[in-house]
Amino acid sequence: MTWRIVLGALTLVAASSQACLAADPRYPDWPCAQAKVPEISLPAVWAGPPLDDVQSKWKDDSKVTALVTKTAARRMPLDEAEKEIRQFLASSNNDKVMAGKLLFAGLFDTLNAERSTVMNGLERVMRKQREAADRVRADTIALQALQSETSPDQQKVDELSNQLLWETRIFEDRRRVVKFVCEVPTAIDQRLFALGRAIQQEIE
């Protein structure tokens, strides 16, 4: 049983060393296969009228802030969010273009900030994973040393085996979660682009 734990921990550490090699040397803590793009650039998602005159003014409009919060949330299906946007813009007869600009400025700020939070979180987890891998490696060596003694202290062996088992389990769980969370920045990109496109089509 103990040997199986040691073998599992060693395999995991070897695998994690591979995974820890960042694809882009500029971002050594970036754990995802997807390339890290630190910020979404405005021209990549918006070809509508310039937003220079709106900046953070969207925060002063309670209707816009409410709609930004509602439609930015990924739990709301995209087609529903687009429908809400179309309805809002249709009711802004007086200045549809300004309403569209304010709404997109809000979505851009909000979703870009959310994306940065997710990406920072991913890098933080990556750093933790490195520390965890070091711990697993050290405990594996310590366990092997204990077992090599002529009369090993079985209680110590059991304790360390148990600790190692938990450490590897937590490491594996985190790795699975990271793989899933790596998809989130792309999902946010897609949502911002789709909502921006819906706004542009409405105000054109």
């Binding site: 650039s41 990549a44 070809a47 792309t186 897609q190 682009f193 089509q201």
Partner: protein, 323 residues
């Protein structure tokens, strides 16, 4: 007399009432391992066909009976029966086929095999391999001159457009272009060859007789980093006057005056726009947008995006009914 007036009137009414553009488009979804079928009358996905692994290059046979799709990770080209929407047959490509082109008669298919630096020649009717031509590293773009005499193949790593004599089946000229050439297209009159370079960020205009680069189209979108502008797919109207260039992660199609080689407009379409196809009447241009998983419909006359259609995961190539 009234009959003479009524009949032409009825004919006009019927013509107006009939759908003006009922074509079928097939889109290869590289990650979804499917092909989406789009009705261009209703602009909806009417079917999703499961195909092999990593479908990319896609094209109708000239008789419209089959859609050929290169499934790179399965090292073959599958033929979809357009009536049953089932895989009816396969064609013997080399390893990792990506793009292909056929001659004007629709008899011979030329396939770029990304993994072994060859172009495979296939007899479509016999489903038989006729031979291979050695080309540069990572062959990709494929196009045929309007007279069927010269086949063009671009190689991603060698950064060249290879001119291949289709009778001798050998390379007769090489033209160096900018980094990572992706796609090649002749003007309909054969006077110019256009080659897009994904990393170089340009489209090279090549004189096909002199085998020389005579000009380059460059792109500039305020606020967007140069490396985000990656030209890939090219579409040129039959009259040779207007061209459309897909700019990848710039999420835009550049509209180009094909006579002066200047960009006249940028159209925001979808994320990572890759390839495109015109409807046969050239009223519409459909583009595949890989990251937003959709297809944009551009009204060619007004040069406006009029519709977005969700398809499968990572749409790559597109082909539309030939008639």
């Amino acid at each position: 007399m009234w009959r003479h007036c009524l009949l032409p009137g009825l004919a006009v009414w019927l013509a107006a009432a009939a759908p003006a553009h009922a074509y079928i488009a097939y889109v290869s979804n590289e990650k979804g391992n499917t092909v989406s079928v789009i009705d261009t009358d209703s602009w909806t996905v009417t079917n999703t066909i499961k195909v092999g692994q990593r479908p990319r290059g896609i094209e109708f046979t000239r008789d419209g009976k089959f859609v050929m799709v290169a499934v790179g990770d399965d090292d073959t080209i599958q033929m979809i029966d357009t009536k049953t929407h089932e895989i009816a047959d396969t064609l013997p490509s080399g390893p990792d086929p990506e793009l292909f082109t056929q001659d004007t008669t629709g008899k011979i298919l030329y396939v770029a095999n990304e993994n072994d630096n060859t172009v495979t020649i296939i007899d479509i009717a016999k489903r038989a391999r006729l031979g291979d031509i050695q080309v540069g590293v990572e062959p990709e773009g494929m196009t045929m001159s309007p007279d069927d005499k010269i086949l063009i193949n671009t190689s991603e790593t060698t950064n060249m457009a290879h001119f291949i004599d289709t009778t001798k089946r050998e390379i007769v000229a090489n033209v160096l272009v900018d980094s990572r050439p992706r796609f090649a297209q002749f003007k309909p009159d054969g006077s110019e060859l256009w080659v897009s370079s994904e990393i170089g960020g340009t489209v090279s205009i090549i004189d096909p007789v002199k085998h020389a680069v005579t000009g380059k189209i460059e792109f500039s979108i305020p606020g967007l980093r140069r490396e985000a502008i990656q030209p890939v797919g090219i579409g040129i109207t039959k009259d040779g006057k207007t061209a459309f260039i897909a700019l990848g992660p710039a999420n835009r199609i550049a509209v180009v005056d094909a006579a002066t080689h200047t960009v006249t407009k940028y159209l925001l379409v979808g994320q990572r726009v890759w390839h495109m196809a015109f409807t046969p009447d050239e009223k519409y241009l459909l583009t595949t947008n890989g990251v937003s998983n959709d297809v944009s419909v551009i009204d060619v006359a007004s040069q406006k995006v009029i519709k977005t259609i969700q398809v499968g995961e990572l749409p790559w190539g597109i082909t539309i009914t030939p008639q």
